[in-house]
């Protein structure tokens, strides 16, 4: 059981990294990875939303969706949108400073496909509440890791002399490709032994 939890965590974070292996959450990944500090904060907010979503999805899967499987997608979307709204309200009340720092990125989490994918794959894999939580933290951690690595690289690249034609999205794509290549080395970390 414990090794299973560890496997879920490592698999979601490194081997099947949401961003670098499944291409999820690319909009914030390219949009917000300009500065290390904001990247890290957005990562934390995403982990938080993922954890709450995972709890709600466990609840939905246990009590509502067995009776109406066709409402799955809509109910997930509604849960995610309201979670984000809720988190936004709580942060605004508790810490206005953090709210200002996160700014536009908070509502943007709603359209982060990583969160919807988390909900769907948690359902598909039939995870228990605990497994779902571990999966959410692992996936969010993986997203944060990728975001922070990318932001660090981009801050460096900004200082170097790059032809105008290459600058921007094309260069970011290729950097992400190389990062993804590096993450492929994690495959096989947990199997066959």
């Amino acid at each position: 059981m414990n090794s299973n939890l560890v496997w879920i965590f490592i698999s979601a974070m490194l081997v099947n990294n949401f961003t670098l292996y499944y291409f999820l959450g690319l909009c914030p990944f390219f949009g917000v990875s300009g500065r290390l500090k904001t990247a890290f904060r957005l990562g934390l907010a995403t982990i938080f939303v993922m954890v709450i979503t995972s709890l709600c999805v466990s609840f939905l899967n246990a009590f509502i969706l067995p009776y109406a499987p066709y409402l799955r997608l809509i109910s997930f979307i509604v849960v995610i949108a309201s979670t984000v709204q809720f988190v936004e309200m709580v942060i605004k009340k508790l810490s206005p400073a953090l709210f200002r720092a996160l700014g536009i990125f908070l509502p943007l989490i709603t359209t982060n496909c990583a969160i919807l994918y988390l909900a769907i794959s948690q359902t598909k894999a039939d995870y228990s509440v605990i497994e779902g939580l571990v999966f959410a933290v692992g996936a969010g951690g993986g997203f944060t890791l990728a975001l922070v690595l990318m932001a660090g690289l981009r801050e460096e690249v900004e200082l170097s002399n790059v032809p105008a034609m290459v600058k921007g999205t094309a260069l970011n794509m290729i950097i992400a490709g190389i990062l993804s290549l590096a993450f492929m080395g994690f495959a096989g970390l947990f199997s066959g032994t």
Binding site: S11, V15, N16, Y70, I74, A125, A187, F190, S191, G192
Partner: protein, 237 residues
């Protein structure tokens, strides 16, 4: 008409529409979408179920060579009992495979475990008389194309599972088979090969004590009156 004009002018005004109207709009949208989705679900569900059943049947017939009929068997209180194909069960399930005459040929057992990249789900045939694996089908995997995906694309690797003794437990070797319980690993995909073998060993180990002694398997399903017609449909597609 007047209503339309009213709403248009209301939309153009900067003032806040009443919250009742907001709730009403969302409610109506939700209701309509619920109807649309439920309708689409009702129409497509029988087709989807038939597709899934056909895919499962094809997989079972492949891993138990020679079989033409199957039935779902659930383990309840230490006994294998037949259940209907669409009945939801929480107990562990295997599939019994039978030939035309209704003679029992073997079990098709599903297993899953971590592979090189992600979960591998597979189905394998098990012959309780010879106590060996008689066929393997990978249902789901994300193994590396060109290397790990040979677990289902490489005929030579698949051939390992045509008569593979499960006692003593299956082992993976790298220099060709020379015992009944050995699997020759795919070059460059040892971990994927190991993962497949590990899943089969674990699942077989869990099932063996619960399977009835050979000869006492549940009987073949009663022949369905519309079976030939269904088969023809399957053949056309």
């Amino acid at each position: 008409m007047t209503e339309v004009q009213l709403t248009i002018s209301a939309g153009q005004q900067p003032s806040q529409p009443s919250s009742l109207r907001l709730v009403l709009t969302l409610g109506i949208a939700g209701l309509l979408s619920g109807f649309a989705i439920a309708g689409a679900y009702q129409i497509t569900k029988p087709i989807i179920d038939a597709n899934n059943a056909r895919a499962l049947e094809a997989a079972v017939f492949k891993v138990v060579p020679g079989s033409t009929r199957m039935r779902k068997l659930a383990l309840r209180d230490g006994l294998l009992v037949p259940v209907a194909g669409d009945e939801p069960v929480t107990d562990p399930v295997v599939y019994g495979a039978y030939d035309d005459a209704g003679d029992f040929l073997g079990y098709a057992i599903e297993g899953a475990g971590s592979g090189f990249q992600d979960i591998i789900r597979l189905l394998y045939g098990y012959d309780p008389v010879r106590r060996c694996v008689i066929g393997l089908e990978i249902l789901e995997s994300r193994e590396t194309p060109g290397l790990g995906d040979k677990i289902y694309k490489d005929a030579a690797f698949q051939a390992n599972f045509e008569a593979l003794s499960v006692e003593p437990p299956i082992v993976v070797v790298k220099d060709g088979r020379d015992a009944d319980n050995e699997v020759d690993a795919i070059t460059g995909a040892t971990i994927s090969s190991l993962a497949v073998v590990k899943i089969i060993n674990t699942v077989t180990g869990a099932w063996l004590p619960d399977l009835p002694p050979p000869g006492e398997e549940p009987p073949a399903p009663p022949a369905e009156p519309d079976a030939p017609e269904q088969e023809q449909q399957g053949g056309e597609r």
